[in-house]
Every structure is written in C-alpha cells, then in structure tokens.
Symmetry: C2
Subunit: 132 residues, 2 copies
C-alpha cells in the first residue's frame, strides 16, 4: 500500500461510494464480531465474489486462502453467520462484519467460540496462555 493522492484519499474516506480496495491477491480482510457479545470471532478474507455473495444473501461468505475456494461459512459445520451489519474502514481496505452465528456458536474450526483463545504474555519473551 503506497500513500494515496489526497483527492483519492478524500473520496475514499469521506465519500458514499463503496470502493473496497483488494490487495495484490484480490483479497480484503474482514473482522467478524458476534452481535450479542461484541466478541471478535475471527479474522478472515473476502474476494470480490465472496463480498458480493455476502451482500446479496445476508449470509457471510469468505475466500479460503488455504483451499483457494469460496467458503460459505457453516456449509459443513452449521455455523452459518447471518449478517447484522457490515462496515468499511476509512481507506476501504478492511471490513468489520457483525453477525449472528448459527449452529452451536463455535465459530473456530478448533471447536471454540472465537479463534482468539490464547493471550500473548511475557513481554520480551512471549508465551501463550489459554483464556478461560
């Protein structure tokens, strides 16, 4: 990401046009938050197709970087995510999606509710500590 020309930055930041900025792989990062608790559930990526499907259906779609395929969250796990709101950041290279998770409420593929289940502690010599 190089710095944007001021006019372009202003249009992105203050305009009403949705102009998501994909990276060199055609992806935009998406932070997914649970509506009821505001817990951050996961960080994943969308491509143009996944974003279009999400907007059209109101159900979260991502792009799986490991499988290189469109990924309708919950197709195999039952963890379908109903979109409550979608927001874009100032320079339109990140999304914040608020969802109501379906199924058993465990969004992480490890069987936990959130992918963020370990804290980094220890300062200069960090180690991980599992959250309660």
């Amino acid at each position: 990401m190089s710095a944007l020309p001021p006019a372009e930055a202003h249009a992105l930041e203050e305009g009403l046009a949705f102009a998501p900025r994909y990276d060199a792989q055609g992806l935009i990062v998406c932070v997914t938050v649970e509506a009821a608790t505001r817990d951050v559930l996961m960080v994943a990526y969308m491509n143009e197709l996944a974003l279009a499907k999400t907007l059209e259906t109101g159900i979260a779609h991502y792009w799986s970087r490991s499988r290189q395929s469109l990924w309708r969250k919950g197709d195999t796990s039952g963890q379908v995510q109903k979109v409550v709101s979608l927001e874009v950041d100032c320079d339109q290279d990140a999304l914040l999606m608020t969802v109501e998770p379906g199924g058993d409420g465990k969004s992480c593929h490890t069987g936990r509710k959130s992918c963020f289940y370990r804290r980094v502690e220890g300062g200069a010599t960090p180690r991980l500590v599992f959250r309660d």
Copy 2:
C-alpha cells in the same frame, strides 16, 4: 496461505509457543479494540519489529505500509494506545489487541474515534451510510 501439515497445524493451534506467521511482506494483521467499550477502533499491521516493540513497551506499535516505517501510534497525534491484552488466533496469522487509547480518544486519522464509521448497505448495489 497453503494448508498446513496436520502436525504443524496442531502445534500452532494447541501449543503454548508464540509463533506469529507473517505474510510475504513480513506483516501480520492486528485488530485493535477499545477496552472500555469493545469498539473495534482500527485494523493495522505489525512487522516483527513493531510486535517486539509492542510487547516490550506495552504501547502499540505498528508498521505503516504507506510510509514503510515503524509507527508508534500517537507519536504525532497524542493517541498513544496502552496495551491491555494481546491475543493471537488459532493459526497465528492474526492478532487481537485490546487497548486504552490516550489523547482525545480519536484513533482514526480522519478525526473519528474508530476507522469504521460507515456502514455498507443496499445488498447487490451497495452504498455507504455514515454512522451516527
């Protein structure tokens, strides 16, 4: 990101070793949340140096992709972010940092508290709507 071998995935996901996985540019994405409100303030990136500085000092440091430089958030704006907690996701390619913002509480360079100040609405023909 290709799929990880099962043993490597297990170590990343269930282990106590902090092994952040940087992308091809040497960066890891960081979601920054305000401790008091749980509002998502911003999404930014860290490189190994920024992460080390953050862990050593307890103050948020990022890597500015536009300026290609270490960025101690608040050095020019007063918006220093005191780290309350840092978490890593299952496969250790994303960070979730909870902070107490300093200064006037406006984390976004546009003068707003959060970078996420516009909703995407309209389904298949999306437009942006400013939040209250």
